[in-house]
């Protein structure tokens, strides 16, 4: 009687265990479930268009591989981060703790990125950064599970200094907003321009997001430098470009900048932007078969032209596909996954790039000039430019 009861209860336990997957091989169990991917991006507010472009790019890269990652179906989880740093930790935790995402893709705003970075370091979730250029993410606060597919703020301006000197502009005024991204962009310029033989005769700044530039433009006119170098982005960038021309400086003092100066604002800036030279890791007009193919397919899929943000989203997708394929969809095989991501060579619309030791792209930086409301590539400002990764200790 007692033995029969034991046999019965044991077989019940076995049946029950089999039903919940306990007795199946671990990998088989993992692979039958969907891979959980979290998108934490701005879908409202000033950066809404950027968030949508990033998501489009990610999805396009994965769709081109049959819509699966390492053979597994995908379940998507989306959170609108509203570009609001104060909600960043809560939003990222929601995706990791509640939704149990295995990959967290995000975001655009550097302040929000710092919140994601905190959660990524605490939970060890694979975190892919499709835009934010904040230095700390791949410097002092770098982590084995955090990979950036975009740029650092200084990486772009490191290429700017030598390009300006090479064009004969040896006396420059630097101008930016006094906030983190502006200071980080200045760090790159401060390093590269004097090293190439130029001298920064004055550093001008105004509080973010103040856009009353007129007084500073008068100061620039009085200083008479060979050139002006700057970091501005978005609405303020368009205004700076227009004010610069309206103050009569456009044809007298060459204007250079980190490429964000002329991204997405050329329609608003109009002819005032003609002739501005910037450095950037991408350009819409990049004349390569890879870029043309990307642009055609993107335009077909989303009925809009891709920009640098769509391209970065696309590369994030490519990197994720590469990593997931290397471990056949088993995202818990972390050492193998990270090794694959670290050694990835991404064949991107921007050109081939590799991962630096601190998990930031090593990439060509292009020199671009605005012509007829388009960023035309006029050369390569720096081959295989890397960020210093200063202070990064993995582990």
């Amino acid at each position: 009687m007692s033995t029969r009861r034991i046999v019965l209860s044991r077989s019940a336990a076995i049946v029950g265990a089999a039903a919940t997957g306990w007795l199946l091989p671990a990998t088989a169990g993992a692979q039958s479930a969907k891979l959980r991917v979290g998108l934490m991006l701005p879908y409202t507010g000033t950066y809404a268009q950027l968030g949508v472009a990033v998501e489009n790019g990610v999805r396009m890269a994965i769709d081109q591989q049959g819509g699966k990652l390492g053979g597994r179906e995908i379940e998507w989880f989306k959170v609108d981060d509203e570009s609001e740093p104060s909600k960043a930790v809560e939003n990222a935790s929601k995706l990791v703790q509640r939704d149990k995402v295995q990959v967290l893709i995000g975001t655009v705003h550097s302040g929000v990125q710092m919140g994601i970075q905190k959660v990524a370091r605490e939970t060890g979730v694979l975190s892919l950064i499709p835009n934010a250029g904040a230095h700390a993410a791949t410097r002092a606060l770098c982590a084995p599970n955090v990979f950036r597919t975009s740029f650092t703020n200084a990486q772009i301006t490191l290429a700017l200094g030598p390009a300006m000197v090479a064009r004969g502009h040896k006396k420059a005024v630097w101008i930016t907003w006094k906030y983190a991204a502006g200071e980080e962009a200045f760090e790159g310029f401060k390093q590269s321009y004097p090293a190439a033989g130029g001298s920064i005769i004055k550093e001008l700044g105004l509080p973010f997001p103040n856009v009353e530039f007129q007084a500073l433009l008068t100061e620039i006119a009085a200083l008479q430098p060979d050139a002006v170098a700057c970091f501005f982005a978005g609405g303020g960038a368009a205004k700076f470009i227009r004010d610069y021309a309206a103050a009569g400086l456009k044809d007298k003092i060459a204007l250079y900048g980190s490429g964000f100066l002329t991204e997405g604002v050329l329609d608003a800036a109009g002819p005032a932007a003609d002739g501005i030279i910037t450095t950037m890791h991408y350009s819409d007009s990049l004349d390569t078969p890879r870029n043309k193919q990307f642009r055609m397919e993107y335009a077909k899929a989303f009925r809009s032209q891709p920009d640098v943000y769509a391209m970065q989203g696309y590369d994030t997708g490519l990197l994720l596909v590469h990593g997931a394929n290397a471990v056949q969809g088993d995202m818990e095989a972390k050492p193998a996954l990270y090794r694959a991501l670290e050694s990835a060579v991404i064949d991107s619309p921007r050109g081939r790039w590799t991962m630096s030791r601190a998990h930031n792209p090593v990439q060509d930086i292009y020199l671009r000039r605005v012509e007829n409301m388009e960023n035309k590539v006029i050369g390569v400002a720096a081959k295989a430019q890397a960020d210093s990764g200063a202070g990064c200790r993995m582990g």
Binding site: G45, T46, A48, Q49, K178, E203, L204, G205, L206, P207, P209, N210, V211, E212, Q214, A215, L216, T218, E219, A221, A222, Q224, G234, G235, A238, K239, R242, D243, A246, A247, G248, K252, G264, V265, D267, A268, A269, G270
Partner: protein, 287 residues
Amino acid sequence: MDFATFLIQLLNSVQYGLVLFMLAAGLTLIFGIMGVVNLAHGSFYMLGAYLAYALTGYFGSLAWAIAVGAVLAMVFGLALEWLLFRHFHCRDHLDQVLLTFGLIYIFEDLRSILWGDAVHGVAIPEPLAASIPLTDILSYPLYRLFICGICLALALGLYLLIAKTRLGMKIRAGASNPDMAQALGVNTRLIHSIVFALGVTLAMVAGMAMAPVSSVYPGMGSSVLIMCFVVVVIGGIGSVRGAFISALLVGLVDTFGKVLLPQIAGMLVYMLMAAVLLYKPEGLFKQ
């Protein structure tokens, strides 16, 4: 700094100050006469700029856009006062703050629905697109002189309206003692409507005039709103004359601060405000 540079920076200060005055005058009138704290005042500036963008596209001329836009702004102001603000002018300030704070979000969403989140530009009209050369290296944009002209004309108009007309007399009476004024036959309801619409129109025209030089972009009203409050607090709440003087003062401090003391430029205006409040807690021209 040589004399020519100094002169241009002075012009820059005055131009910035005059635009601040256009905004602060409306803000201080609405508070001084209706007792309404209007946090949505910056949104009117933003809506004005977007209206200029839309109307310039429609008419193909900024002059027409501003003329038609000013009329639309007046109608918009009257409608808003009739629908919402008249029910709030005797309520607690906290209620007003909540109402107008909510309006900021509503106007931002409206803007997003109507015009999207991209940055837009408005072309400077051809005859005004030039610069006046002052020395061989320094010049001043003609359009900014035009902005000064508009602001000065409106400031003068406002002064004449309040100081010299019958309506102005009723406005002043309504401001200093609304109950007595009403008892003597002044229609304070109507006065409130007119004052509110006037404030909205001033802010929107400032936005329209600034559109070509500032570009038109989401959230452009919020940074300007903070400066307006600083101007109103320094000038003395409710005083239009105080707003005029303090707007010019803020323009001066901000402009020369940016050039001479760039490290602390962001703080200077607030330091000025603190200094004034220490010396005169009710502002320079408390009524």
